[in-house]
């Protein structure tokens, strides 16, 4: 076992990122994510990395893409309004398959909303915030320890699948301090490099749907564009190429989907009622399960909320013959829509929603469970 350190969620994110190999961070101050930029500015130079404070969130996201194209593992961090501004470039990274990690520390919205208060209102934005039919991975850690290790995962996924990964924190776990045991062995993945620089086709994919990625400045000559492009990277209007590209962008995630999804089943062995929760609310629900100490109620935590662990949830529902599902979340009901899609009428699905800017308490959830 490694060393145990007391740290804040935002700090765990920076430490995890550096552990994963992040050497570039571009950001812009915004509550409640500012500590990530502050710490990155302090720590990155010590690892021979680069921190840049940009003039806004649009340029922060663009700088991250530029740095990643030059071969560095790159990240940016923001919250609600800033996440909205980053969306165009997130779509660009998705289309051009440039690895990057985008942290969104959720706060109350819409608009400026409640800058210092918690929310889970960006579930759908994290999936569909940018326009077009794009693939994306969204990971929502629950505890500070989760944040450390899932930031590493976020980089791993991003590099391996050449895709933007959204790390969805919230004001509570980002500002919470708890101890994290830093394990000595952590798996770190890097992006695939092309085998040759001759006749280099930057968007010719391997069997896994992912093209190896050369970097600018290393002798690979290629074009990068947000237009629909063929294997050479050049834009094309060919409907055939367009369909091929969009199909492949989705295929690369579908093919590796089982390696990507992360979830946890907590005391679900004999449960007939299931709570499904993510982020800070998931740990509140763990407390609920422990307090009521009743086999009939279990907890399912999706850590990758996109792609959602749908197969796994469905098999649990069928195996346990789940009768009722509660979905507590800090919004008016976003993740519940995905749960309803999976359940498809097999059992009752009820939302427990809070959007006052405060974290839901175990007592509040227990009250809802008892009310039935």
């Amino acid at each position: 076992m490694g060393e145990a350190l007391l740290m804040q969620g935002n700090e765990a994110c920076v430490r995890g990122a550096i552990r994963a190999g992040m050497r570039f961070f571009a950001g812009y101050p915004i509550t409640p994510s500012t500590e990530i930029a502050e710490l990155a500015s302090l720590m990155l130079p010590k690892y021979n990395g680069k921190f840049i404070q940009m003039e806004d969130e649009i340029s922060s996201m663009a700088a991250v893409i530029g740095a990643s194209l030059c071969g560095l593992k790159a990240m940016t961090a923001t919250s609600g309004p800033g996440f909205s501004l980053k969306q165009e470039n997130i779509g660009y990274a998705s289309m051009t398959e440039i690895p990057c990690v985008v942290v969104d520390v959720m706060r109350g919205g819409p608009s400026t909303g409640l800058p210092t208060c918690v929310s889970q209102g960006d579930v759908m934005q994290s999936r569909w915030g940018t326009h077009g039919d794009h693939p994306v991975i969204v990971i929502a850690p629950s505890t500070v320890k989760d944040i450390y290790y899932m930031t590493i995962k976020a980089f791993n996924y991003s590099e391996r699948y050449r895709i933007p990964v959204i790390l969805l924190l919230d004001e509570v776990n980002a500002h919470m301090r708890e101890s994290v045991v830093i394990e000595n062995d952590v798996e770190i993945w890097d992006r695939k490099r092309p085998l040759t620089r001759e006749n280099h086709k930057p968007y010719a994919a391997d069997e896994d749907g992912v093209p190896p990625m050369g970097e600018f400045g290393k002798g690979y000559r290629f074009h990068v564009t947000g237009l629909v492009h063929d294997e050479t990277g050049h834009p094309t209007n060919s409907s055939e190429e367009a369909e091929k590209l969009i199909r492949r962008l989705h295929y690369k995630l579908e093919k590796s989907r089982d390696d990507i999804v992360i979830y946890e089943k907590f005391k679900t062995e004999r449960c007939r009622t299931l709570i499904i929760a993510f982020g800070s609310v998931a740990r509140v629900c763990k407390d609920v399960i422990c307090q009521i100490n009743d086999d009939s109620i279990g907890l399912f935590i999706p850590y990758t909320i996109w792609p959602f662990p749908d197969k796994e949830l469905l098999s649990l529902i069928q195996k346990n013959r789940i009768e009722r599902i509660y979905v507590p979340e800090l919004n008016t009901g976003q993740m519940i829509l995905e749960v309803q899609r999976i359940v498809f009428g097999r059992c009752e699905v009820l939302g427990i929603n809070k959007y006052s800017g405060e974290l839901i308490t175990p007592t509040e959830i227990i009250k809802c469970l008892r009310r039935g």
Binding site: Y28, P29, I30, T31, T34, A37, E38, S41, L42, P45, F51, Q53, E55, D56, E57, P81, L85, S111, T112, P115
Partner: protein, 326 residues
């Protein structure tokens, strides 16, 4: 020059009861700017995200006597553009009788950085408005991060002064010059009022001119922030004075392209007079960092000399020398 007694009788349009920090310069600046409005005139105020915005209208109170809108961080100038254009249309149709003035307030983050595009657009379109930047040289609302208005060498949380890097590594952007390059009717640089100085009414006079000169006009106001500058609130007027007397923050205006110095220090003080008063520059004055202070002094000198040229001060000085030689 206005009479202080008369001025004090004019009702404040930003009243007490806001929750800005003790010693914050922003409400003082807003008060003097809005006092320059004629008493019968109404105003629409747009406010970019920032300290002033979050602290001046906390439910269920507001410190503002005028109509007020906060939209986002990057678009106060665009929002007020829309309000001004709509007002013109209503006025044209005879649906509104009163005279309204349009003023936007933004800090340096919301003006120099994220709001620059929206500001430039509004200025170029020439709406009848004034944009006032209260420049305190960093993102104070989120806890002191560097901005492009942060001075060289300043210690902020994203340009931390350490053993290797001595604070911010870039000189500040000269926004007043950028605005002057938009060829506006009126652009001016000034400071929060310092009683007992020749430039006590500089902000008031420039505000009046900016508000009542037709077209898109701009004011850049150096505004103290005790938290971010690491100063005692009681010393802030001395700090402002030092900014002017060292020529770190010259007072000037550009009216229809014509530059004019509105205050010229009798004797230009060394830049250390400005640096030594503030905790954010503490590390610069330690032994071994003399070269950094020299570098700052050289840049202040360069910018000051250029401004003197633009203002025609060099020719005036030459003529004076020639006259005295006769």
């Amino acid at each position: 020059m206005p009479n202080l007694k008369e001025l004090s009788k004019k009702p404040a349009r930003l009243t007490g009861g806001h929750r800005m920090c003790a010693g914050c310069g922003a409400p003082m600046v807003v008060n003097w700017v809005t006092k320059a409005l004629k008493e019968g005139d109404k105003a629409v105020i747009a406010n970019a995200t920032g300290c002033l915005e979050v602290s001046s209208f906390l439910y269920p109170y507001t410190a503002w006597k005028d109509s007020w809108i906060h939209s986002a961080f990057e678009n106060a100038a665009a929002t007020i553009s829309g309000a001004e254009a709509a007002y013109n249309a209503m006025k044209r149709k005879g649906r509104i009788d009163e005279t309204y003035k349009f003023i936007a307030f933004g800090g340096d983050g919301g003006t120099y950085d994220i709001g620059l595009q929206s500001l430039s657009g509004a200025m170029e379109r020439g709406h009848d408005m004034v944009y006032v930047c209260y420049d305190n040289g960093a993102y104070m609302n989120t806890g002191i991060q560097r901005s492009s208005a942060t001075p060289f060498g300043a210690d902020t949380t994203t340009s931390p002064a350490g053993k290797v890097v001595p604070g911010k590594q870039q000189f500040r952007k000269d926004l007043t010059q950028i605005m002057a390059a938009h060829n506006l009717p009126y652009v001016a640089q000034t400071v929060a009022p310092v009683p007992g100085t020749k430039y006590m009414f500089d902000l008031y006079n420039k505000s009046e001119k900016a508000i009542y000169t037709k077209g898109a006009n701009f004011l850049n106001v150096l505004t103290p922030c005790p938290r971010g500058w690491r100063i005692e609130a009681a010393t802030e007027l001395d700090v402002i004075k030092a900014a002017v007397e060292t020529c770190w923050w010259p007072l000037y205006e550009v009216e229809n392209g014509k530059y004019k110095l509105t205050y010229k220090p009798a004797e230009k003080k060394p830049i250390t007079e400005w640096l030594k008063l503030q905790g954010r520059f503490k590390h610069l004055l330690k032994p071994g960092n003399e070269h950094l202070v020299e570098k700052i002094q050289a840049e202040v000198d360069r910018r000051w000399e250029r401004l003197l040229e633009l203002c025609g001060e060099k020719e005036i000085a030459k003529a004076e020398v020639a006259a005295s030689n006769k």
